[in-house]
């Protein structure tokens, strides 16, 4: 079943809850090869996104993404916060005017999200970034016509495999790039965030 704006509203609450719960785990993961701010960025950013969407009960599906993107940019001015903000704003542009959120819209959203992140972060596949998980999510959804919850389950599985694959990559961007070989063997922290994003979307879609 395709979701309405009332349903997609639940994404933002669920993301805020998940990133609040994962705050310490993300700090620890990022601390191995970064500056430990990822957990703080994500919990603060998605709490702000949740509040922005909650404050606009009339907002449609795309409008919610715009509000979330703006809130993320303000509340989480780190690299990952800015990339997430870009993803949501590109989702807004791609889905502007959409009345429902089904498998086709999910595919559009994730493709726009991944392309926005690639453009803003100037990363390429294989650079060991969030893109190495976002791109497989978008690809897994591409052209599917099964129900949303099933499609998102497939995307979540693809995301998990893609995250595992980042263990064999060497970081090329951000503070992790300074660690180069030391980053090998570890899953990418940004990619871990992308897995959580799609898992939460799947869980919300399943419950409705």
């Amino acid at each position: 079943m395709a979701l309405t704006a009332d349903h997609t509203r639940a994404f933002y609450t669920a993301w805020a809850d998940r990133f609040a719960a994962e705050r310490e785990a993300l700090i620890a993961l990022d601390g191995q090869v970064g500056d430990s701010d990822l957990g703080i960025t994500m919990s603060k950013g998605f709490a702000a996104a949740r509040d922005a969407v909650a404050a606009a009960p009339e907002a449609g599906i795309a409008e919610q993404m715009k509000l979330a993107g703006g809130a993320l940019a303000r509340a989480a001015p780190s690299t990952m916060g800015t990339l997430m903000a870009t993803g949501f704003l590109r989702g807004f542009k791609a889905l502007d005017g959409a009345d429902t959120f089904g498998t086709g819209q999910a595919a559009t959203f994730w493709r726009a999200f991944a392309e926005g992140v690639a453009q803003r972060g100037k990363a390429r596949p294989g650079d060991k970034t969030v893109l190495d998980v976002l791109d497989p999510i978008a690809t897994a959804l591409d052209g599917r016509d099964d129900p949303l919850a099933d499609a998102l389950e497939a995307a979540t599985v693809a995301a998990g495999h893609a995250l595992e694959a980042t263990r064999n990559m060497v970081a090329q961007h951000g503070k992790a790039a300074a660690f180069q070989e030391k980053s090998r063997g570890l899953p990418d922290a940004g990619g871990t965030v992308a897995v959580m994003l799609v898992e939460v979307m799947r869980d919300v879609a399943r419950q409705l």
Partner: protein, 333 residues
């Protein structure tokens, strides 16, 4: 570390507070000292917004004022401002004709300005972007997009500001600024390191009898570490790089900026200028405009940079136009 500080953490905000108290020509917006804007916006004019890390005065904020640029998002020492700060400055500066983003080529700044531009678009403010990349030493010919922006951005502010003051539309202001960008080259040389207040010690060393040619304004590694040589030889080495990738011809005109990095006396800058003037004279090139002093510093780093803008009939009057900012005044001509 020997600096006039109250606390290292207050370095940027107390500097800004001092500037606002000294210069009523500038103010801040959005309740944030780091959102620095002109107090005299011109209705209907294209706004010009810059931004970047602190530690380089007069760059970047020093060029906000009459006839130059309109706003500056101020970051911590050597740190990018946030996209939200850039957006707030953009909203304040926009006078209905759109806003030009003009800043140096650094990853964090690019990401945050691009993000701010996307947020501004959602508020129906048109933006265009020109990214300064004048530092010849930071990448080879053919890879100019990887070059850092350093002191030569002064010429871009000058050209952009004068073009906007003529009430040209955003696309024209951007085109002219980009032309100035493409015709500007800078080479720098460092003699001693700089100290970030919150770090409290130099991040690297340069030996007593050494210089580093091509070092960046944050201490990025240069092209070569060499024994210090006579000033003329140093200028010859620097200008050789600039001449190698420009096509100045007899009768051409240039503007020259001799910039001190923070701890080099003006006397020494004139010794450098002397040799630049001789080299230009030998080539039959006229130095139509020249400025010497501190334009883009790196805290207390000793050293200097030479920037050259290859003028043409369109750029010359823009570089000559009068401006008045708290840090830079030019009466015109």
């Amino acid at each position: 570390m020997k600096k006039f500080l109250n606390t290292p953490e207050a370095f940027v905000d107390e500097m800004l507070d001092g500037i606002y108290r000294a210069h009523p020509q500038v103010t801040h917006t959005a309740g944030d000292l780091r959102c620095y804007v002109t107090a005299n916006p011109v209705p209907g004019k294209v706004g010009i917004v810059t931004g970047g890390g602190s530690g380089h005065l007069p760059t970047f904020l020093g060029y906000v004022g009459d006839g130059m640029i309109d706003g500056c998002a101020v970051g911590g020492v050597f740190q990018s401002p946030s996209s939200d700060q850039i957006l707030e400055v953009t909203k304040h500066v926009d006078q209905g004709a759109g806003v030009l983003y003009l800043y140096g080529n650094y990853t964090g700044d690019i990401m945050n300005f691009d993000m701010a531009g996307e947020l501004a678009e959602l508020e129906d403010i048109a933006t265009a972007t020109v990214v300064g990349n004048d530092d010849v030493a930071s990448s080879v010919v053919g890879e100019e997009h990887k070059r850092r922006g350093v002191a030569g951005i002064f010429f871009l502010y000058k050209a952009a500001g004068a073009a906007a003051a003529q009430m040209l539309p955003l696309t024209e202001v951007a085109r002219i600024t980009d032309k100035a960008r493409a015709r500007t080259r800078t080479m720098g040389v460092a003699l001693s390191p700089c100290i970030v207040p919150e770090v409290g010690r130099p991040g690297f060393q340069i030996g007593e009898n050494e210089m580093e040619i091509g070092m960046g304004i944050h201490g990025e590694p240069g092209i070569s570490r060499e024994p210090l040589q006579p000033a003329d030889t140093v200028v010859d080495k620097m200008m050789e790089r600039i001449f190698a990738e420009t096509d100045y011809k007899t009768g051409d005109e240039v503007a020259v900026l001799i910039n001190g990095l923070g701890a080099t006396p003006l006397e020494e800058l004139y010794i450098l200028y002397r040799r630049v003037a001789i080299l230009m004279e030998e080539r039959g090139v006229t130095i139509r405009h020249r400025w010497l002093g501190e334009f883009a510093t790196s805290m207390e780093m000793a050293g200097a940079s030479i920037s050259v803008l290859h003028l043409d009939d369109e750029l010359e009057p823009l570089i000559a136009a009068p401006v008045s900012t708290p840090f830079f005044t030019h009466v015109g001509g």
